[in-house]
């Protein structure tokens, strides 16, 4: 090769490298994304950049390109995998890239599960997304607000226990959004009026069940009719056991009747009340237990038995309170009477055997307590009367003594004057 030819090759080779070098120096970083987006006038583009600072992924060191980019030289090239605003159907896969990789997640949060995406595809949301490409169905970023994701134990998180109802309700309580889908939109309102909603919103009891406790998290779907007993039984295990013993589980399942929800409802569960116990049987039990079968009236018998205990408890309480108002010390008796509340709870659990005998057993024990309490109350009232009588007698004695003294004084003085 001649010297000129070598020089020309070297020069062309060097010149060819320049664009490559220039390209390497100008690759965008996540900070660049943020800086640019923060300055954009359209709030849909600037808001994500602002809120991302509070996101749990930002704290772990992930920037915009971790989800949206490919990491390669062609970062902003859609053809190379850049996801500007991913399609709904792409979102589970995008999140799952990391969250379904156990080895990867172990580096950041070893306790976190890695089956969320798999669960999701079994859920009502996932199935509609996969089978019908339903544009209104929830994906990861609908519940875990994109660019502002917080862990579930953070009170500001959209999936914090107290906030879940609002998160689910954003869609499920919106009739317009749910139009065309075969689902009610009254769940949130019903839940708020329920005993569970009262515990959560009024008492701040975070142990109260919310949507995901019964419906599941990522695999959210209504529990099947046969599963209602199991779902409620997670907490209400005693009632569930009685229900099993009653033999009604198989019968209900066969008739497609949802065990607990049949009498208690599902979202608008009210606290148990004795007054409606008998009425309920008319609605439910008599449908199957037609005469000459008298078992349909078992609830009425239970109500009668429970009523005797409640009336006895109230009568004893009245006597004790009357004694207390008179100033008598009856705190021990009142405490022992308080045990009846425990017994009433047990008796209400026994209702779910759908037989009156277990209920009667509890009530009998309770009546022993109320009888004893009433005795103590009557004793205190008697003691009170005794005090008045004793006072009267003592006062009479003192008055007689005073009269005697006055007479003696008068006699003395008369004798001295004489």
């Amino acid at each position: 090769m001649s010297g000129a030819r070598v020089a020309w090759t070297v020069t062309v080779a060097a010149l060819a490298l320049v664009p490559a070098a220039a390209g390497a120096q100008t690759l965008p970083t996540s900070e660049d994304c943020r800086d640019c987006h923060l300055g954009l006038p359209d709030v849909r583009l600037s808001a994500p950049a602002r809120s991302y600072e509070g996101d749990v992924h930002a704290a772990a060191g992930f920037g915009c390109l971790a989800c949206h980019g490919t990491g390669g030289a062609d970062r902003l090239d859609p053809a190379a995998g850049f996801l500007s605003a991913p399609l709904r159907g792409e979102i589970p896969g995008m999140c799952g890239r990391c969250h379904s990789d156990a080895a990867f997640m172990r580096q950041f949060d070893p306790g976190l599960r890695v089956d969320q995406v798999a669960e999701y595809w079994t859920s009502g949301h996932g199935e509609r997304l996969r089978d019908f490409d339903d544009p209104g169905v929830a994906t990861c970023t609908d519940c875990h607000v994109a660019h502002a994701i917080r862990p579930p134990d953070d009170p500001a998180s959209s999936v914090y226990a107290a906030n879940i109802v609002a998160t689910c309700g954003r869609c499920h309580a919106d009739p317009q959004h749910m139009a065309g889908r075969d689902i009610d939109t009254d769940q949130v309102g019903a839940y708020r009026s329920s005993v569970h909603g009262g515990l959560l919103f009024d008492d701040g009891d975070l142990s109260a069940p919310v949507c995901n406790d019964c419906h599941g998290n990522h695999g959210a779907a209504p529990p099947g009719v046969a599963s209602v007993r199991n779902v409620c039984g997670q907490c209400h295990s005693v009632m569930a056991d009685y229900f099993d013993q009653s033999g009604h589980a198989e019968i209900f399942n066969a008739s497609d009747l949802a065990g607990c929800a049949l009498c208690h409802g599902h979202h608008a569960v009210q606290p148990a009340s004795d007054e409606t116990l008998g009425e309920r049987s008319v609605d439910v039990c008599l449908t199957c237990h037609t005469p000459p079968d008298t078992l349909g009236l078992e609830f009425e018998r239970m109500q009668a038995v429970l009523d005797t205990l409640e009336m006895a408890r109230q009568a004893s309480l009245r006597v004790l309170e009357e004694a207390e108002n008179m100033g008598m010390e009856v705190s021990q008796a009142l405490f022992e009477l308080g045990d009846v509340n425990n017994i009433q709870t047990r008796a209400h659990s026994a209702i779910h055997s759908f037989r009156v005998d277990p209920v009667r057993e509890q009530v009998t024990a309770g009546l022993e307590i109320t009888t004893r309490a009433e005795e103590r109350g009557l004793e205190a009232l008697g003691e009170h009367r005794f005090r008045r009588v004793g006072l009267g007698l003592s006062s009479v004695v003192i008055v007689l003594l005073i009269i005697g003294l006055l007479l003696r004084i008068r006699d003395l003085e008369r004798a001295e004057e004489a």
Partner: protein
């Protein structure tokens, strides 16, 4: 006596009446004072007030291993249990969720609340279910055959 000398038998009767009245009512008064005082000093059937410490009515031998018993701690319910290892422990039996009375479950080897399926371990710590905090723990001392449960510290 002066009175007798001055006006005769009428005043003697009157004086005797006043004497009798004074004597009887004074006696009645003394009785009305002494009767309550004597009854007061005689100890009542329950000789002690339930304070920060309670002596149980049953002995340590009455409690088999891996069982529990409810007892009265002043105005609160308490749970005495003997662990499978034979150690006596006592807790407040009031569930920290919604105040139901807990019980010892021999099949689970720990404490359980029937109301909402709350579980507590043998140290009283809340391990499953709704209860937000552990059960209050009491001190247990065995003196001879008697079990004495008292507040911690």
């Amino acid at each position: 006596m002066k009175g007798e000398q001055a006006t005769g038998t009428g005043n003697v009767t009157r004086k005797r009446f006043v004497d009798w009245l004074l004597g009887t009512s004074a006696g009645g008064f003394v009785a009305a004072v002494f009767y309550p005082v004597v009854r007061y000093i005689i100890p009542p059937e329950v000789p002690e007030s339930a304070v920060s410490s309670v002596t149980l009515a049953f002995t340590a031998d009455d409690v088999p291993a891996n069982t529990g018993r409810i007892f009265k701690f002043g105005t609160r319910p308490g749970l005495l249990l003997k662990t499978p290892g034979g150690e006596l422990r006592a807790f407040s039996a009031r569930c920290t969720h919604l105040d139901c009375t807990v019980q010892y479950r021999e099949d689970l080897n720990h404490i359980w609340c029937a109301c909402h399926n709350g579980h507590f371990d043998l140290a009283g710590r809340n391990i499953a279910g709704p209860p937000p905090t552990p059960l209050e723990r009491f001190d247990v001392n065995v003196r001879g055959s008697q079990i004495v449960v008292s507040l911690r510290g």
